[in-house]
């Protein structure tokens, strides 16, 4: 099966130790996590993990199911890049004297949609947000100007077709208040994580 980038989105309770519990699902299978981000979600009190791996669909599906099996995980989705809107942010620190000398820098920054976060006498920090290729391109451009530091954030992604999880969670709670029964509508979608 062909390997490609998959974006795994997990909705979880906010619990100490859960990050490790999820991370070992990958490490146990010797799968490298390319990017991992945790953040709040659209629902108060529920966390959202965005994890990127380069793997085959079958592997990702099994991992996603294992993740969802964890007690404190509510729901897991996985999508290839074309099914999500995604962004990464990058910061670039360059020497101010060199930057100031060259007028073309202004133009380069405009072309790359970058902005200046901080200007000091000794260095300047730029920021840009976009896909991997875009942040990489600016990195290549700034290299000749004595780049001091570079950092790129984890990926955050939103699923294009998603109706959001809020509605789904409310539906769970409405259908089965206090009951330990789950729906299984996704049994029809065997290619997905079907347990919720």
């Amino acid at each position: 099966m062909t390997r490609q980038e998959y974006n795994i989105t997990a909705y979880t309770e906010n619990q100490v130790g859960l990050l490790n519990r999820l991370a070992i699902i990958f490490s146990r299978r010797k799968i490298n996590i390319e990017s991992l981000n945790t953040s709040p979600s659209e629902i108060e009190g529920i966390h959202r993990f965005n994890i990127v791996v380069h793997e085959s669909e079958e592997v990702v599906r099994k991992i996603a199911r294992q993740m969802e099996k964890q007690v404190e995980v509510l729901k897991v989705y996985f999508n290839p890049n074309e099914e999500v809107i995604w962004q990464e942010m990058a910061l670039y620190k360059v020497p101010t004297d060199i930057i100031a000398e060259r007028a073309l820098v202004e133009r380069l920054l405009r072309e790359h949609g970058a902005r200046v976060v901080l200007i000091r006498k000794d260095y300047t920090v730029f920021e840009t947000t976009g896909h991997r290729e875009e942040t990489d391109k600016l990195l290549a451009v700034l290299h000749p100007y004595g780049l001091i530091e570079f950092v790129r954030s984890a990926r955050i992604a939103i699923i294009k077709t998603s109706q959001g999880f809020h509605h789904k969670l409310r539906e769970f709670e409405r259908q089965q208040p206090g009951e330990e029964v789950s729906e299984n509508q996704f049994l029809d979608r065997r290619d997905k994580v079907f347990s919720m």
């Binding site: 490790n20 099994k62 007690v71 206090g178 347990s195």
Partner: protein, 581 residues
């Protein structure tokens, strides 16, 4: 209540001081009692002393079994859980006490055994300081627990304990570990009483059954000419033995079992066609590759069952009944997944399947069985050689127990022999370490099994390797007076490894000759009656003595040194390539 200066780590408000207060330790024990716990297996230590102090006042409600090693404690709790169907409970202290639980947790995790383990932990303010007997047990046990949680504030104990029991026993059961810092055990607070947990929003252990999938499964079964049922421990865990039997008897489908499923259908039942897997019976292995519909019930297609996957049941349509969605399509892709508790799905399926007999198809199993009897079983159970075989010991044992005893086995050749030949008339009579293959499991697990099923005779069948791994639990037997019948099959080898070295490594016997102590003397040192036999005429009287002796008894049987277990599906081969010799 606890005049301990370190209590001041959790100052109480003035209002709270006026109300009646109890310690976290007491609340924990009250919670255990409320959850129906009657027996705890454990070993005290510094970081769990407050709980043991509270236990002093709970001796009426909670029977604490002092083991000789925490690994023995957790295996005993596993034996208790497997024999009784209830949650096994373990106490251990921090650091080495907690790390000694890891093997048992891994065993319970892979064999889906419900456990709640309580470990003491250093004071919360010492966490992360490399304090004496501090270890990061939460991170150590994360891969081998269904859920684990650390408590640093006593007020969290009631909810966490209720959650622990709910998680351990619901859905696909498993082990849970609660790590409680010493300050939380000591901390006084106002306790409102134990409330059981029945719902966790992120955890949905009981899938709603989709009838259309049951319908599709029934259609496949009704069209089948050569259907085969494979059942696993799910039938036992779901307490669906009666439902399973009705399904089998109506559909007339021959049914084979994984070693953890043993006993869900009595071994003597006409539709029980035997054991699956590497050392399972000939018929069910060979015919797995000839059936047209394979109905897997509460089993997970372990590699020891399937052999090489690309040569496994490729011709068959697969129906997979399981409560755990991660098992569906994990190893074998299901044509029809029936996701749910088999206690619910089996009766629905029984309603829809046609009553059939499959006489010709079942004859195939009998034919294969006759072949296996001629090639393997006859010589194993009724040997003509001088030396005793493991098979004849189990056969003679059957004659005496009549399939009514609990058989606890360790890991290795004797385990395969015991599982193949033990007669089981009821569910929960076979207790073994299946998924993890933990040597040293049987002796402590048998102790626990006797506590879990006191009305049953419990026979621990153990090899000379395994018994030396946890032999110190003879001390637990000595101190408690619990009645365990120890049947030690001594071939003076680590027999299963020796067999592989013989068959696949040109008889280069590397580190498999194992010396034994004089077990009769060792047992008598523990005040346990014992006997050794090596000649056929002594075997039956000795087995009778083992069973009839009031109290525990150790019977060592010297058996053939270099006997091999057959049939065998060699590693890397398909089930169809099973060898009879």
């Amino acid at each position: 209540m606890f005049p301990n200066p370190q209590l001041q780590s959790a100052p109480a408000s003035p209002e709270a001081l006026a109300a009646p207060q109890v310690s976290g330790a007491v609340v924990l024990l009250q919670g255990l009692v409320a959850e129906g716990v009657d027996t705890v297996f454990g070993y005290p230590g510094g970081a769990i002393i407050p709980i043991y102090d509270a236990l002093y006042d709970f001796q009426e409600q909670l029977n604490h079994v002092l083991v000789r090693h925490e690994q023995g404690g957790i295996h005993a709790a596993q034996g208790y859980a497997r024999a009784s169907g209830r949650v096994g409970v373990v106490f251990a202290t921090s650091g080495p006490g907690a790390t000694n639980l890891v093997t048992g947790l891994a065993d319970a995790q892979i064999d889906s055994t419900p456990l709640v383990c309580i470990t003491g932990q250093v004071f919360a303010h010492l966490l992360g300081t490399d304090a004496f007997q501090e270890t990061d047990i939460l991170n150590i046990t994360t891969p081998v627990t269904k859920w684990n949680h650390q408590i640093t504030d006593a007020r969290d104990i009631p909810a966490a304990l209720a959650k622990a029991f709910y998680i351990a026993r619901s859905g696909r059961p498993g082990p849970v570990l609660l790590d409680i810092t010493k300050n939380a055990q000591l901390q006084l607070f106002e306790h409102a009483g134990h409330e059981p947990c029945t719902h966790i929003r992120s955890y949905r252990p009981r899938p709603m059954v989709r009838p259309e999938y049951v319908q599709r499964a029934a259609e496949l079964i009704n069209q089948a000419q050569r259907p085969l049922v494979l059942w696993g421990q799910g039938v036992l865990l779901g307490q669906a033995e009666a439902e399973f039997r009705e399904f089998i008897e109506k559909s007339g489908i021959p049914a084979a079992w994984t070693i953890l499923g043993a006993g869900a259908l009595p071994t003597g039942h006409p539709l029980n066609v035997g054991m699956l897997g590497m050392h399972g019976n000939y018929g069910p292995n060979v015919l797995t590759n000839e059936c047209d519909v394979l109905v897997a019930i509460g089993m997970r297609f372990d590699d020891r069952v399937t052999g090489r996957l690309d040569k496994y049941a490729r011709q068959a349509q697969v129906i997979h009944l399981d409560i755990d969605p991660t098992e569906i399509d994990k190893n074998v892709v299901a044509t029809v997944p029936v996701w749910g508790d088999c206690k619910e799905t089996l009766p629905l399926l029984t309603q829809l399947v046609a009553a059939r007999q499959h006489p010709e198809w079942r004859q195939r199993f009998r034919d294969h069985d006759a072949e296996e009897v001629a090639a393997v079983i006859q010589d194993e159970l009724f040997p003509t050689q001088d030396e005793l075989t493991m098979g004849e010991v189990i056969h003679q044992l059957n004659e005496l127990t009549q399939g009514e005893a609990i058989i606890v086995t360790d890991v290795g050749q004797h385990q395969m022999v015991a599982c193949r030949y033990a007669r089981l008339n009821h569910p929960r009579l076979s207790i073994t370490s299946g998924g993890l293959g933990t040597m040293g499991f049987a002796l402590p697990a048998a102790i626990g099994a006797k506590y879990g099923a006191p009305h049953r005779t419990v026979v621990a069948v153990i090899g000379d390797g395994g018994i030396q791994m946890t032999i110190q639990e003879l001390g637990t037997i000595m101190q408690t007076g619990i009645e365990v019948k120890i049947l030690l099959l001594n071939n003076q080898f680590l027999g299963m490894v020796r067999q592989w070295q013989e068959l696949f490594h040109e008889r280069r016997y590397s580190c498999v000759e194992i010396a034994s102590p004089d077990y009769v003397t060792v047992a008598s040192g523990y005040g346990i009656a014992a006997r050794r036999v090596e000649h056929r005429p002594d075997l039956q009287p000795a087995l009778r003595q083992l069973l009839d002796h009031p109290g525990s008894f150790l019977l060592e049987v010297r058996v053939t040194r270099e006997n091999n277990i057959f049939p065998m599906v060699p590693q890397g081969c398909g089930v169809g390539e099973i060898r009879l010799r």
